[in-house]
């Protein structure tokens, strides 16, 4: 969604073409991100003509301030959707930065790793908006990600296993 998409596209801006093809996963209710992504990829194709990407949609795992119990149910439903997607793509790397949409995708990849089907490296970058506390996605994925990146020193202190590179968006 919105801010998350802008941030993740900035994170992608300096990556080489080794990080290709790129598969974007969006929430089905997200109306604005697709345009931003296409615009980014179009620009990229001007420099790297072989550039490839795809877009997939999954049900949104959780609405803002949705109750705990119903969130677990909707997230499980989203995992059901994202498991076949993750299995099909078998990504080497999953890069995410916080929207609820990323939790089911990462958990699916984690599961496929446990089942020795595909080992995916999960890199989570917490949003620049998070200075003192982690988002809910962050709190969950802190334990499931291979690299957990924070953008403010306070968070590095609170979450010692995280990586601090300063502001990267």
């Amino acid at each position: 969604t919105g801010g998350h998409t802008t941030e993740i596209l900035r994170l992608l801006s300096c990556l080489s073409e080794s990080y290709s093809p790129r598969h974007y996963v969006l929430a089905d209710s997200d109306k604005m991100s697709e345009a931003k992504i296409r615009s980014f990829e179009q620009k990229r194709a001007e420099t790297f003509s072989e550039s490839q990407f795809s877009l997939d949609r999954i049900p949104r795992s959780r609405e803002v301030r949705q109750s705990w119990i119903s969130s677990v149910v909707t997230t499980l439903y989203s995992i059901l959707y994202s498991l076949p997607l993750t299995y099909k793509r078998k990504p080497d790397l999953i890069l995410c930065n916080g929207p609820g949409t990323c939790v089911p995708v990462c958990l699916s990849a984690f599961l496929l790793g446990l089942l020795r089907i595909k080992r995916t490296i999960i890199v989570y970058v917490e949003s620049i908006c998070r200075v003192e506390t982690l988002s809910l996605s962050g709190k969950i994925l802190y334990y499931f990600s291979d690299y957990f990146i924070v953008q403010w020193p306070d968070l590095k202190k609170k979450y010692p296993k995280s990586v601090y590179l300063g502001r990267i968006v």
Partner: protein, 104 residues
């Protein structure tokens, strides 16, 4: 106007921006190098939103007030004391990932 796809034009021609504490608004304004006063909505106490505004204020990038103190802030503000906002560095992230995958 109520909603627009992008405020980039308005931002470019503004001398001063007064905004709510939304991260997108704050960052977009700071990146364009415009002085910014962030107004906190006491009633909509979304702590998460306040974190960034508070930090930006602590670091000297923005001025900070609530609805009732806005006028006072406008009257006594010293915009030249605001520090320029350095851009983020996505190249550090790229470097980090390259190391993870042994691509350096």
């Amino acid at each position: 106007f109520r909603f627009k796809d992008s405020l980039a034009e308005e931002l470019q021609s503004a001398d001063l921006v007064i905004s709510h504490a939304g991260a997108g608004s704050c960052l977009e304004t700071l990146e364009k190098g415009k002085p910014l006063i962030v107004v906190i909505n006491d009633k909509l106490m979304d702590n998460h939103q306040l974190e960034l505004a508070r930090q930006l204020h602590r670091d000297g990038y923005v001025l900070y007030c609530n609805c009732s103190t806005l006028v006072e802030t406008l009257q006594s503000m010293n915009l030249s004391a605001l520090k320029p906002f350095p851009p983020g560095q996505p190249e550090k992230f790229a470097s980090f990932l390259d190391k993870v995958f042994g691509l350096q």
